[in-house]
């Protein structure tokens, strides 16, 4: 194991580079394209057994750079994603345009976000993992805000609140464990392996107090993984970001959560059910949704559900599947969102019901969108096919029937909402009369790039490099997984065919005009503000009143009585001489009586 001190983790290039971008003025956009590539080169250039430590807080050694099994696959795709995103977000018309001004904030934030995500994958201990985890939240909030709309402002605010609370839950859990470890005399309480809760024989978590740490950590991660009901922030916030912002957002937060879950909770049975819930939930809401990007946002939840389920299954196959699927998912989901983003950028419309018939004028966008849709639906010869099926396979191998059935059904559902609904409503269906051209070159390039990746990864024989960097690579001479078996391909095609039929059969029902579908974000969109407005606020106001009274009115009253000038003439009158004498006599008398009584 080589140990280099002073070498920063690869993600730092993106973080710092991103922060410097606004200062580079005209050079910025060019440098922005280079930075992710540089990072990627760095990720691949450093030896796999390198660890870098850094002293921290005077007592810890943070391992800021270490390769964990899933590190490479996640770090790679994050860097690639950063590149494609940067390309997509390029301020084509220069930095002084509206888009350019947004770029100046959005892209640095996105790079901080992406870089932190990469750093999370390289974190060799829980503290550095957490630090970058929090940085991601900061970066992503800024990305949302960059959209510059009021809705984005509010959504970003809610997003940030949810994530900071998730973060503090995670932190509390980490510290519970750290404290316990320190008590047990462990020398390196931050080391990641102490936190491998899922490692102990694929057992579920007990609900005992002793597991508070694990529960809190799991809760914190699941917030980021967008598991319902903790995850409604996703559909709430992502569609409010700018067309390029959403692309970035779709990639990092949930996938980082998947990465961390894979590290810490692999094999935790609970996650199977969480994953299944997410898969189903995502579909249901995506079908009900009208906003094209919100459809895709729910589809993220659904897809992450597959991964979480895979992590819950916990076998090598399942974990490989989850990792690979994360890889593929980032690509095609970004592609889909780029496609949707292009439409949004060119038309300014976001609702399915307002769109349609765009295939006339946006052929490239349409094509790329369909490729993404096919990939997400695991159509053979696309990336989704070679990755998602590993999870199904693992479920089957482990004889977890519920998981297998649900995942299969969900696959069909995915095709229903993302594979057909999105392209159908946006590009075909009735003609909305809109005739926007394809988006600018950079957006097209980004889409084409990712469309190509989707296809390439699905081509038999070309997915090898991906399989090679999975957490549990195949032993020498063995095949990790062979997706292209005849039954598998036929099964998948059947499934997709019937889903497609179902879609068109149900089309009248699916034509939704609903503008927004509230789910658990009801809690913080309606309930919490309601509670705040009608319960807490009055209480706080009452407190303020109380304090005002205590420190304002009472002193004022005292002041009024004490300081106030005597207005009446009689107040200037002192005790007359006679009065004084009476007082004196009275005093004497009182004293005599008291003395007499005492004696």
């Amino acid at each position: 194991m080589t140990d280099a001190v002073g070498l920063p983790p690869p993600g730092i290039i993106l973080v710092l580079g991103g922060l410097l971008l606004p200062l580079l003025r005209g050079l910025g956009p060019a440098v922005a394209l280079l930075l992710p590539l540089l990072t990627l080169g760095f990720i691949w250039g450093i030896p796999d057994d390198l660890t870098v430590t850094m002293p921290f807080m005077g007592q810890y050694d943070l391992t800021v750079l270490a390769f964990n099994p899933p590190t490479k696959v996640f770090a790679t795709i994050f860097a690639v994603m950063a590149f494609a995103g940067a390309l997509f977000a390029h301020p084509i018309t220069g930095l002084d345009s509206e888009r350019g001004r947004r770029w100046r904030v959005e892209l640095p934030a996105a790079f901080v976000y992406a870089g932190s995500a990469i750093c999370v994958t390289f974190a060799g201990d829980i503290l550095s993992l957490f630090i970058f985890w929090e940085l991601m939240a900061i970066g992503s909030t800024t990305v949302i805000w960059s959209a510059g709309t009021k809705a984005a402002g509010r959504a970003g605010y809610r997003y940030a609140l949810v994530h900071f609370v998730g973060g503090v839950l995670l932190m509390a859990g980490i510290l519970a464990k750290v404290f316990a470890l320190q008590g047990a005399g462990v020398a390196d309480p931050l080391a990641l392996h102490h936190f491998f809760f899922g490692a102990a024989g694929f057992e579920g978590l007990s609900f005992g107090a002793g597991d508070a740490a694990a529960w809190l950590i799991l809760l914190g991660i699941l917030v980021n993984a967008a598991a319902p009901p903790l995850g409604s922030w996703l559909a709430d916030a992502y569609p409010e970001a700018s067309e390029s912002g959403t692309v970035f957002l779709s990639a990092f937060t949930t996938k980082t959560a998947v990465y961390v879950l894979m590290l810490l909770f692999a094999g935790t049975q609970l996650l199977i059910y969480v994953g299944l819930l997410m898969a189903v939930y995502g579909i249901v809401y995506a079908i009900l949704e009208n906003d094209m990007r919100r459809i895709l946002a729910y589809s993220i939840v659904n897809q992450v559900g597959f991964m979480v389920c895979g992590i819950g299954i916990g076998t090598a196959m399942a974990l490989n599947g989850a990792a690979a699927h994360a890889f593929a998912h980032i690509v095609y989901k970004a592609l889909l969102l780029m496609s949707a983003g292009s439409v949004l950028y060119m038309t300014g419309k976001r609702k399915c019901t307002d769109l349609g018939g765009l295939y006339h004028s946006m052929p490239i966008t349409m094509t790329c969108g369909i490729i993404g849709a096919l990939a997400i639906s695991s159509f053979p010869l696309t990336s989704g096919f070679v990755t998602k099926s590993m999870i199904n396979q693992a479920a089957a191998d482990e004889h977890i029937a519920l998981a297998w059935f649900t995942l299969t059904a969900a696959s069909a559902g995915v095709f229903l909402h993302a594979g057909i609904k999105f392209p159908w409503f946006v590009f075909f269906q009735k003609d909305s009369g809109l005739r926007p051209p394809d988006p600018p070159w950079n957006m097209r390039a980004a889409m084409i790039f990712f469309a190509a990746v989707c296809i390439l990864l699905g081509v038999p024989g070309l997915y090898g490099p991906l399989y090679a960097i999975l957490p549990f690579p195949a032993a020498a001479g063995e095949t990790l997984y062979a997706p292209y078996t005849v039954p598998h391909v036929i099964n998948q095609l059947q499934l997709l065919l019937f889903s497609g039929l179902a879609f068109f059969a149900l089309l009248p029902v699916l034509k939704r005009t609903l503008t927004i579908t509230l789910d658990a974000d009801w809690f913080y969109r309606r309930l919490f503000p309601g509670v705040w407005q009608h319960l807490l606020r009055p209480v706080v106001l009452a407190f303020r009143e109380f304090f005002d009274y205590l420190f304002g009115n009472i002193p004022q009253m005292v002041k009024d009585t004490v300081y106030s000038p005597p207005q009446e003439a009689r107040m200037f009158k002192e005790w007359g001489l006679g009065g004084a004498m009476v007082v004196i006599t009275g005093f004497l008398f009182v004293y005599l009586v008291l003395g007499y009584i005492a004696a």
């Binding site: 609370v165 509390a172 106001l541 420190f551």
Partner: protein, 525 residues
């Protein structure tokens, strides 16, 4: 009466005093006056920093308990004005002396930029306040602590009342009123009570001074409890609810003063005193055993949450910051009240961490006022584009308040959360979680407004400040076009950049603060 000695702690006390004298002599020549201020601050930091290695050295603690203090004067028979260096005081002195330099730089920019009157008085009182802080930090016994505590109140009063306007005088009266009422009615009573019950023992020592009295039965648990209440509410500077009102009131002061109050001196003096009393007068072990301090956790927790909620309402930027301070101070108190080694560390660290973050926030608020004459949050739309450095610094400060990495606030929160597990205090855990939420809830909108909301149209009428708004009388006096401004004067920008940077640097290099805090912890029985 007074022994002249070159002990560094005495120097730390005399340097700012001498500085105050020189500043007042140099009052006619502003440049010279400011130079003197900066020089004094520099020398002070040099002297104070020079003391740190000795405190951090191994075995310091063992010698601390035995070593006699530096006795200055015998005020009453047996009651000495006494200075003694210990880790907590060292930490406090370091914070104050280092921030004084930055604050002075900032003051130069601010006071000149706003054409404030009576600047000499301002700098003199500032130096005197720092002298009081040094005395407070190195106080060797309760009596000395009280002396400098009161001195600090008095020397900061003219700063709060600086403007001399009706608003300023009234607020300064609230400031003085609450601080004096609490310190005289409760703190002094507590101190004299301690003196009576311990038979004249007021020296700070690990483990506290009450053990003998408790052992021989001359002091009972209820009385101990009363004494504890007297102390906790006597230290009004710690702004435990409901004696926090002076803090928002003091917002009327010029911003460097607010920074001084919130970050460098006054509130820090309060929580520092709380911590010192808990650690050295009562002793955590005694408090745990007799359980007289448990209520403090709940009161401090309530303070954190209520103050944060009130902060949500404030449209005036400085008021919001003030309530944030109230809430953050109770972080220190709640940590101290947990009475475990880790929590004491957390408390000490949070004093430092909050100092850097909050001073940045106030500097930013003052910078906005200087450059744009804006005081209300609702006026800040798009100001981040005009004043990117200021608002970036503000953002960093906000992150520190929320406790996010990579800022100072994270470090103390790390210890505090750990302490909640050490002491098995779910209430505190919940408070911290809710408070994180609330902190984010009231800081993020400001950041959002500044950077992401477009500036109002130029012909928009200046926002009428609310009734409780500070500086309300200024908006129309300066015929300043509020829409044509960039950053504040350079000293202001430099100062706030430095503190923002320090907030981040503290995250990476907190060794010194943690070392001192750990020294403190290692001394606990």
């Amino acid at each position: 009466m007074i022994h002249f000695d070159v002990s560094p702690q005495l120097l730390a006390l005399y340097i700012p005093l001498l500085g105050a004298l020189l500043i007042s002599l140099a009052g006619r020549w502003p440049n010279l006056r400011e130079l003197v201020t900066l020089l004094t601050a520099g020398v002070l930091l040099y002297v104070v920093a020079g003391m740190a290695p000795a405190v951090l050295a191994d075995g310091f603690w063992a010698s601390f308990a035995k070593a006699p203090g530096l006795k200055l004067a015998e005020v009453l028979p047996g009651v000495w004005l006494e200075l003694k260096v210990e880790p907590l005081g060292m930490l406090f002195a370091l914070i104050a002396s280092s921030l004084w330099i930055l604050n002075s730089i900032y003051s130069i920019g601010y006071m000149r930029g706003n054409h404030e009157k009576n600047q000499t008085r301002f700098y003199v009182c500032f130096a005197l306040a720092i002298a009081s802080v040094m005395g407070l930090a190195f106080a060797g016994n309760l009596f000395t602590l009280f002396v400098f505590y009161e001195a600090l109140t008095l020397t900061t009063y003219p700063l709060v009342a600086h403007k001399g306007s009706a608003e300023a005088i009234r607020s300064a009266r609230t400031y003085l009123g609450i601080l004096v009422v609490t310190s005289v009615c409760f703190l002094l009573a507590g101190i004299i009570g301690t003196y009576v019950f311990t038979g004249g023992d007021m020296t700070f020592r690990p483990g506290g001074v009450f053990r003998r009295a408790l052992a021989d039965g001359s002091l009972t648990a209820p009385t101990l409890g009363i004494l504890f209440v007297l102390y906790m509410y006597g230290i009004g500077k710690a702004a435990l609810m409901p004696v926090h009102r002076w803090l928002p009131a003091a917002m009327v002061a010029p911003t460097p003063v607010s920074a001084l109050l919130h970050a460098v001196a006054v509130v820090k003096a309060g929580v520092f005193t709380v911590l010192k009393v808990i650690v050295y007068v009562f002793g955590p072990a005694v408090l745990v055993r007799y359980g007289v301090g448990d209520w403090l956790i709940y009161v401090a927790g309530a303070t954190i949450l209520i103050a944060s909620c009130i902060a949500l309402f404030q449209d005036n930027l400085k008021r919001r910051l003030a309530y944030s301070t109230v809430s953050q101070l109770s972080y220190v108190i709640i940590a101290a009240a947990l009475l475990s080694p880790l929590s004491i560390t957390a408390a000490a660290l949070h004093i430092a961490a909050h100092a850097f973050g909050k001073i940045t926030l106030f500097f930013a608020a003052g910078s906005i006022y200087t450059a744009a004459h804006k005081t209300e949050i609702s006026q800040l739309d798009g100001i981040g584009r005009r004043m990117p450095i200021t608002m970036a610094a503000f953002t960093i400060g906000s992150l520190s308040m929320i406790g996010l990495p990579p800022t100072a606030g994270f470090v103390s929160k790390w210890y505090l959360l750990q302490a909640t597990w050490e002491t098995d205090a779910p209430f505190v855990l919940v408070v911290v979680i809710l408070s994180t939420l609330l902190n984010a809830a009231y800081f993020l909108p400001i950041v959002y407004r500044a950077f992401f909301v477009a500036e109002a149209k130029p012909h928009h009428e200046p926002h009428q400040s609310s009734a409780d708004g500070n500086f309300g009388d200024h908006g129309d006096h300066h015929g300043h076009d509020a829409h044509d401004h960039g950053e504040a004067p350079w000293p202001v920008v430099v100062a706030l950049s430095c503190t923002a940077l320090a907030t981040i640097v503290f995250f990476f290099y907190s060794d010194l603060a943690i070392g001192l805090a750990n020294q403190l912890r290692s001394g606990l029985p």
